[in-house]
């Protein structure tokens, strides 16, 4: 049986892996916004079409591969939760017993994987 401490560490890491895809996408979006500003600057004569096309394609790649939880990420979450359910009636009972609160990012990921967690066991702070 996994320890409460290791479970907490794993869920924090998995939640961060999930959310860093969105953080990555935010940086790509910021790049796109900078191009928009440059295009409004009439003193510049560059054609930004190819760059914007590259940004949009990269945006899609990041969206598909990193913002949406990958199959391998969901597999880890499912196996982790099933591991808990072998010994506890529910994930919430396990969390309450260990006085653990999972991060909001992991709670969202777990929901994606089919295991919802009650709000009392989520660190909303």
């Amino acid at each position: 049986m996994i320890t409460f401490e290791n479970y907490k560490t794993l869920t924090d890491c998995l939640g961060s892996i999930y959310v860093y895809g969105s953080d990555c996408l935010a940086e790509i979006t910021a790049t796109n916004n900078l191009i928009d500003n440059l295009q409004e600057d009439n003193s510049r004569t560059y054609d930004y079409a190819d760059l914007q096309s590259a940004i949009n394609r990269t945006d899609q790649i990041i969206q598909n591969k990193h913002v949406m939880p990958s199959k391998s990420l969901l597999t880890v979450v499912r196996k982790l939760q099933i591991n808990i359910l072998n010994s506890y009636a529910s994930i919430d009972v396990f969390l309450s017993t260990g006085s653990i609160k999972v991060s909001i990012n992991f709670a969202s990921l777990s929901e994606y994987a089919g295991f919802s967690i009650s709000s009392g066991n989520i660190d909303l702070g």
């Binding site: 790509i28 560059y46 591991n83």
Partner: protein, 232 residues
């Protein structure tokens, strides 16, 4: 733009590092059941994320550096390592290590001279206006922490006591050191920047939490918080 792309890669690299630590934690667990249940899945996650940061931006990077070409032509010139290195040299720019690695994937080899020092970082904030009636002079306090609740503050800076590393955006592409008397409120909307020194290096691929607040002679304003990934 290179800074944003560098940070984008930084987050992908951070995912790889986290997957590595997850895999290690499981493999080194005392519990055989945990290893059997999660071992294969966590190593699969790590393998899937390894080197993603090198590959996922290879469409964007050559286009980004083509933009630097001062003579855009109808027939587009391909971006070369020589060209990029010369632009970096002329402008005194450096790029992050992670960006340079992703560039290498696109065939662009950056001279190590133009790669930022490992662990260096910078943080930008927009200067806020609080009182449009009266001109004020602002100083800035910034904390860098390892956790979002700022219980583990690693670095604290105050521009009123030491201006070293603090810059403000005087013109669109020009940053200057903050005067000892502070930054005038008519610069509101422009950027304030802190650039780390050698003793303030942070771990590459780690995410840190940043909060900054403005202050003037009369009051200290509320914190603006953000996070950053070290990508140098």
């Amino acid at each position: 733009m290179a800074e944003h792309v560098g940070r984008a890669i930084g987050y992908l690299y951070a995912k790889q590092l986290l997957a590595y630590s997850i895999s290690n934690l499981v493999v080194n667990s005392d519990d055989v059941n945990t290893i059997q249940t999660l071992g294969l899945a966590t190593s699969g996650l790590y393998n899937g994320l390894t080197n993603n940061w090198r590959n996922d931006l290879t469409i964007l990077i050559p286009e980004l550096f083509t933009l630097l070409n001062p003579k855009p032509t109808v027939i587009k010139q391909s971006t070369t390592s020589e060209f990029v290195n010369s632009v970096l040299s002329t402008n005194g720019f450096t790029v992050s290590y992670l960006l340079s690695q992703a560039m290498a994937q696109s065939g662009l080899v950056i001279d190590p001279t133009y790669i930022s020092d490992e662990g260096s970082w910078r943080q930008d904030f927009t200067i806020q206006i609080f009182d449009e009636e009266n001109k004020k002079y602002f100083h800035f306090e910034m904390d860098i922490a390892a956790d979002p609740s700022f219980d583990m503050i690693l670095i604290s800076k105050d521009s009123s006591s030491d201006q070293f590393g603090w810059l403000y955006q005087k013109d669109m592409n020009q940053f200057e050191s903050i005067p000892s008397g502070g930054v005038a409120s008519n610069y509101a909307g422009r950027l304030i920047r802190y650039r780390s020194n050698d003793s303030e290096s942070l771990t590459r691929g780690s995410v840190y939490y940043v909060r900054l607040r403005q202050k003037d002679d009369l009051e200290i304003h509320g914190y603006v918080t953000s996070s950053m990934v070290v990508h140098t």
